[in-house]
């Protein structure tokens, strides 16, 4: 991996292209627009298949439920908006008409996380992993780069059942290739290592790779970087193996530290093989305006934080379980 000169492509481009691919292979794929088609790049599909594109306007509840009606008529509907609005404005509809109905509706949550940047807190969805993974019947995927997003889009379009894909706005390092395997529910182990496991999703996977590289070079620590692209159903085996082999874990996500990937991993771990975990994420607060990279830095979603967290996890493992830190620090 060339860490210096990596190309950057937005994940949403993968989503847009994936939709076109699906549209080509399956006549039943239809797309609903939520007045942000150029932002989440459902515009690609719209241009190519105008007769299978329906503009619903700014009405996320309705779009989601119309999608359910289309699915109940044999179609494979995608509806995408900003994740803040396609996961929350329509939450009841997702719960009842999509998840409980267990229909073949695919929701795209674009512009997620703080990397949406200067639009600020209202647009920075940081809570939807928690909500969506709690819904029965749902599949939830948070891909980490452009190629993977494209594959994930195609994969959820081919599987049967409700799914949610969370992706981003800004250009991020494109580190997987067209050949990198992608299977829903099967995490990708990106680096081998038994010293500490870093379980990450989305934009934090790249940071984890950078962190692992530095840990190796600077401290001789071998980190196992796991790309946990599928949050639901979560890959129990890979997590349990990591807990057993490494004895400590760091989770990393562009999401609240509560309830998200970290929470999912914690649940698997305590139920199977309890080890210390350090959570990297947004510390229970709302976002802010700023440039994507500034914000990642500001909120500590960086390889440096990951390195510190890894070291802390290792210390906790080695000192045993009696290292109770002061409550202030715990609450960070």
């Amino acid at each position: 991996m060339n860490f210096e000169k990596i190309e950057k492509i937005p994940t949403r481009k993968g989503f847009g292209e994936g939709l076109v691919k699906l549209g080509e292979e399956n006549q039943n794929v239809v797309v609903l627009g939520g007045d942000i088609t150029g932002s989440v790049l459902t515009s690609f599909f719209k241009e190519k298949f105008p007769e299978r594109f329906f503009s619903i306007g700014i009405a996320e509840q309705n779009a989601t439920t119309i999608a359910a009606g289309l699915a109940l008529s044999g179609k494979v509907p995608f509806f995408a908006s900003y994740s803040a609005f396609s996961a929350f404005r329509n939450a009841d509809q997702l719960r009842i008409s999509v998840a409980y109905n267990n229909v073949n509706v695919k929701i795209g949550g674009g512009h997620s996380g703080v990397t949406v940047g200067p639009d600020g807190a209202t647009h920075q969805s940081l809570e939807e992993i928690s909500f969506i993974r709690t819904l029965p019947n749902m599949t939830l995927i948070v891909p980490s780069d452009y190629n993977q997003t494209k594959k994930a889009t195609v994969a959820i379009g081919r599987m049967i059942g409700p799914s949610f894909l969370r992706f981003g706005r800004s250009a991020v390092p494109s580190f997987t290739s067209q050949e990198t395997p992608f299977e829903i529910g099967k995490a990708n182990i990106l680096t081998e290592g038994n010293d500490v496991a870093i379980v990450a999703c989305g934009t934090l996977v790249w940071e984890s790779l950078v962190a692992a590289e530095k840990l190796k070079k600077e401290k001789g620590i071998k980190a196992r970087v796991i790309d946990m692209h599928t949050i639901k159903p979560i890959d129990y085996n890979t997590i349990i193996d990591a807990a057993r082999d490494c004895g400590c874990i760091v989770t990393a996500e562009e999401h609240q530290v509560h309830g998200g990937l970290g929470g999912a991993v914690a649940e698997v771990v305590v139920k199977n093989f309890p080890v210390p975990i350090e959570f990297v994420g947004i510390p229970d607060r709302f976002g802010l305006s700023g440039e994507p990279e500034e914000l990642m830095e500001y909120f500590g979603l960086t390889s440096n934080t990951l390195i510190n967290s890894a070291l802390r996890a290792i210390t906790r493992r080695d000192k045993g379980f009696d290292l109770i830190r002061h409550i202030k620090e715990i609450n960070k």
Binding site: V30, E51, R52, F54, I56, G57, A59, Q61, N62, T65, I66, A67, A68, G69, L70, A71, L72, S73, G74, K75, P77, D92, Q93, R95, I96, S97, Y100, N101, N102, V103
Partner: protein
């Protein structure tokens, strides 16, 4: 107790003289009472109030469905948006032959296919979608109508029923806006306009009137009818069916109804929204209905 036994009776779905609907509606009302009595909880008021509409919609040869192959891809669709009045839908489906009427006594019981609010997971024939969260069904109906009209390009019809309190949900107006934008002439949206909801009169809890004007401003063909008048129900639905393929406007039927219609001590009383009859009340209700039945028979003999 013979009152509480479900006969095997089913009705055909066919064009029929108007004077045949009363006894069908009567049977549906009996089933509603009986199943709710068995359940010990559930929604009497709206279910009884819509019996006449359901009788005509399912048994007048208007809606195309086939109970023995109910998932047929060319069926017309009925989506219950007001999920709480499931008892009338269940009664109707049972009497149309979708499942044995005797199953009505399992309403709301653990393990039943007759969930308190329709659930797709339990796979009861005739149920097109889960419901229970107000306002969602009508958007589902819009999705189906889009699918039929713009993708499959068939003339399949989509019927949906919402309450009037339900119209307080904003998502309902999103659905309305979309329906007219996509020129869903194949959509027939029936509003159960009983002016009752849980907390009281709709116009007092949160006034929704004027209703006709609202739907017109949202681009609908609107017609207000007496929801207990078979002739009006039939001709309105028939007009919808006949004009559907040419029509570029979605259709709204505001059916003026009385909650609890048919049972003297329930009629037009919002407190019956979500309550089942107890045994005494069920017996009283059933005997009122039987009296009515006799009158109907007599009346039919004379005419």
């Amino acid at each position: 107790m013979s009152e509480f036994i479900f006969s095997d009776l089913t009705f055909e779905n066919k064009e029929r003289p108007l004077n045949e609907f009363p006894k069908i509606a009567l049977q549906l009302r009996k089933d509603v009472i009986t199943s709710l009595f068995y359940a010990g909880s559930g929604h009497s008021g709206g279910s009884l109030g819509m019996a006449d509409v359901f009788a005509v919609m399912y048994f007048g040869g208007l809606m195309r469905y086939n109970p023995s192959n109910w998932l047929s891809s060319i069926r017309d669709r009925f989506v219950l948006s007001a999920g709480h009045i499931s008892p009338i839908l269940y009664a109707t489906l049972a009497r149309a032959g979708f499942f044995p009427p005797d199953e009505l006594k399992s309403l709301r019981k653990l393990g039943s296919r007759l969930q308190g609010h329709p659930g797709l997971d339990v796979e009861l024939p005739g149920i097109e979608t889960s419901a229970g969260s107000l306002g969602q069904g009508v958007s589902i109906a819009v999705g189906m109508a889009i699918s039929h009209r713009h993708l499959d390009k068939t003339d399949q019809l989509v019927f949906t029923v919402t309450g009037d309190g339900e119209l307080q949900e904003g998502s309902v107006w999103e659905a309305a806006m979309t329906a007219s934008n996509f020129k869903l002439g194949n959509l027939c949206w029936i509003v159960d306009n009983n002016d009752c909801q849980i907390d009281g009169r709709v116009h007092e809890v949160m006034n929704i009137y004027p209703l006709q004007e609202k739907f017109e401003a949202f681009g609908f063909n609107v017609i207000t009818i007496d929801g207990h008048n078979y002739s009006q129900i039939y001709s309105t639905l028939k007009d919808f069916k006949n004009n559907s393929s040419k029509s570029e406007k979605p259709n709204c039927i505001i059916a003026k109804t009385f909650m609890g219609k048919g049972i003297s001590f329930m009629e037009d009383d919002y407190r019956w929204h979500g309550v089942p009859p107890n045994k005494e009340q069920a017996i009283k209700a059933l005997s009122e209905l039987e009296l009515l039945e006799k009158q109907i028979i007599e009346l039919n003999k004379i005419n």
